[in-house]
């Protein structure tokens, strides 16, 4: 089911959470809303879910205007950052909740509910935990229960708010791969919020970058990473060196796009190596340049760093760079 939000605006007191946001999510895609905290991405997710009412604008799901529909009437599934599992219910009861609260003829029989819940629990590999309480599970397991619970009502859209934000690094990576796989199987239109650019680049079909309540850029991960439309996006998607700056323009370079050579070369500027860190397979070099030019950070494969030592004079040139007008940052 496609999602269309049109010219959404939302204020919290004097704080503008969203201003004039328009976005189209095609059916069956996995879309990441990416941005720093306070940039409006979670608010937009909650507006789509019906958990916040926008001050202006409209929300359409599959072409149907749902701007004033309650969260339970939209056919969405929502996964909360801190899971929001019902502590007093078992895992089974949590997943069954959305089916049990259906009224009248819409409520499935107990046997149907049982079968469906167990099927979902085996999908998230937690069928063994049906009788446990959320407090007896790890963070990653709780998040999978939350996902099964959201899927139980057969949502046409799945919305996930920082789904892996509260988990440690290893579990994060595992759940990420698993979510991508699950999406490939179910093909339900999904939108997730994250502030982790790597997460977005790794699993999303499309990325929407947020900044200060507005959409800064949207596109495929390749588009967004290789052609950042603004200095903000450039900086947000990875480490950035200021190669050169004046009143109008700023040229930015990624640390791994810097080429170092012991000999002068055309286009290369002189710099001195201040410090060398080895971080696993990568070496990080801190370089200072003459005059007012900002210092640089360069990343090289660790085996290439033997040619250089602290204090040495080198010549640096960018192999790729982006120039932005200063007002756009």
């Amino acid at each position: 089911m496609s999602i269309d939000v049109t010219q959404i605006g939302k204020q919290f007191g004097t704080f503008t959470a969203l201003s004039d946001v328009t976005l189209h999510v095609p059916d069956g895609q996995l879309v990441a809303l990416l941005g720093p905290s306070g940039s409006g991405k979670t608010t937009l997710l909650r507006v789509i879910a019906g958990l916040e009412t926008p001050d202006t604008g409209r929300v359409h799901l599959a072409g149907q205007d749902v701007t004033h529909a309650g969260p339970g009437e939209r056919g969405i599934g929502f996964v909360f950052q801190h899971y929001a599992l019902f502590k007093h219910m078992t895992v089974f009861e949590n997943v069954a909740f959305g089916l049990k609260v259906k009224r009248g003829a819409a409520r499935p029989t107990a046997a149907t509910i049982r079968e469906k819940v167990m099927r979902l629990l085996s999908l998230v590999q937690l069928d063994w935990a049906a009788a446990r309480y959320p407090s007896q599970l790890s963070g990653g397991q709780r998040q999978r229960v939350a996902l099964a619970r959201a899927l139980a009502v057969e949502p046409r859209v799945l919305l996930l708010d920082e789904p892996f934000g509260a988990l440690d690094a290893a579990v994060r990576q595992e759940l990420r791969d698993w979510l991508r796989q699950l999406h490939n199987e179910l093909h339900v239109t999904s939108v997730f919020v994250t502030h982790d650019q790597e997460e977005a680049l790794e699993i999303a079909d499309r990325i929407v970058v947020f900044n200060a309540g507005r959409i800064e850029q949207e596109g495929t991960p390749g588009d967004v990473y290789h052609h950042p439309a603004s200095a903000f996006t450039y900086r947000f998607l990875g480490r950035a060196n200021v190669w050169q700056t004046d009143a109008r323009e700023q040229t930015l370079v990624r640390p791994h796009d810097l080429h170092l050579s012991p000999e002068p070369a055309p286009g290369a500027v002189p710099a001195q190596i201040v410090r060398v860190h080895q971080v696993g397979p990568t070496a990080r070099l801190e370089l200072s340049r003459a005059g007012d030019l900002p210092s640089l950070e360069a990343h090289l494969p660790a085996r290439d760093v033997q040619a250089f030592q602290v204090g040495q004079q080198v010549y640096v040139s960018p192999t790729a760079q982006q120039t932005y007008s200063v007002t756009s940052s």
Binding site: F12, G40, T42, G50
Partner: protein, 281 residues
């Protein structure tokens, strides 16, 4: 976005029930509390400014207000060291029957005040279990201001202990160990490190006890003897005026008591806000 600067009202709330619950809560609050209190103030106002001042500055009223205020103050002050001792023991030592003692602390709260009143009076009367030996030593407790203070100490005790306990549990041994490692003696450590950390909780316990005891009636009327100018408390004076159908006079004394209570609470809250800001707890 979970930490928005302020989550102000939306045009429509997604969670249901605000109009119903807020409407009901406000209506019920108005019916049970606000309208009756307004009736009290209106009644006192029927006396006019002069009449009101005359009513609340008559020597007997002033004496009763003084007795109520000073006995409550004394009892709350006495409860500070007593409450500190008990709370300290309950949190720091392994006492046999600790849970039982801990549960018993709330007895003054759970026990009806009239029961407390007759019990303490019987205990401290000149022929009582404690009253007899004390009388022997020339100390009279029942039917004196001292008796009122004892009753109010009983009533106020749980407030001080319960304010201190969570703070003491939180405090942990590290600051004290740090002080000792820097060469402070145990006495210095207590006075300079531990006690200052407890000031906000002590003040809050003291204030709660004072607020509760300044208007206390049930536990006091039995033990006080109710002698005008000596052991007559303000609430009793209100009852007396009601019995003589002096409704306006009763209302005037009540308003004076309300003003004192509110002023006390405000002063204590301000002091506490300042203390806890300094302590940055």
């Amino acid at each position: 976005m979970t930490t928005l600067p302020s989550r102000r009202q939306a045009r429509r709330h997604v969670l249901p029930g605000l109009p119903l619950t807020l409407g009901y809560a406000t209506l019920y609050l108005s019916l049970i509390v606000l309208i009756p209190l307004a009736a009290l103030i209106l009644k006192a106002a029927t006396l006019g400014a002069d009449g009101f001042l005359d009513a609340v500055t008559s020597p007997r009223v002033l004496a009763a207000l003084r007795v109520s205020f000073f006995t409550a103050l004394a009892a709350s002050l006495i409860n500070v060291p007593i409450g500190l001792t008990i709370a300290w023991t309950l949190t720091r030592y392994r006492v046999p029957g600790r849970r039982l003692i801990d549960a018993l602390i709330d007895l003054p709260f759970a026990l009806p005040t009239a029961v407390a009143g007759i019990t303490l009076t019987t205990l401290l009367a000149p022929n009582g279990w404690l009253g007899a030996p004390l009388a022997e030593a020339g100390i009279r407790v029942a039917y004196t201001p001292l008796g009122i203070i004892v009753a109010l100490t009983f009533i106020g005790l749980p407030f001080v202990v319960r304010s201190l306990q969570p703070v003491l549990e939180d405090l942990g041994p590290e600051p004290e160990e740090a002080a000792r490692s820097l060469g402070a003696t145990p006495t210095q450590t207590f006075w300079r490190v531990t006690l200052p950390a407890l000031y906000p909780a002590l003040l809050s316990g003291f204030t709660l006890a004072l607020a509760r005891t300044v208007g206390e009636y049930g536990s006091v009327v039995f033990i006080s003897g109710n002698l005008p100018f000596k052991t007559e408390i303000a609430p009793l004076l209100i009852v007396g005026k009601l019995e003589q159908y002096d409704y306006a006079g009763a209302a005037a004394v009540a308003v004076a008591m309300l003003v004192i209570s509110v002023a006390l609470l405000l002063a204590a809250n301000t002091a506490q806000a300042r203390l806890s800001r300094r302590g940055e707890r």
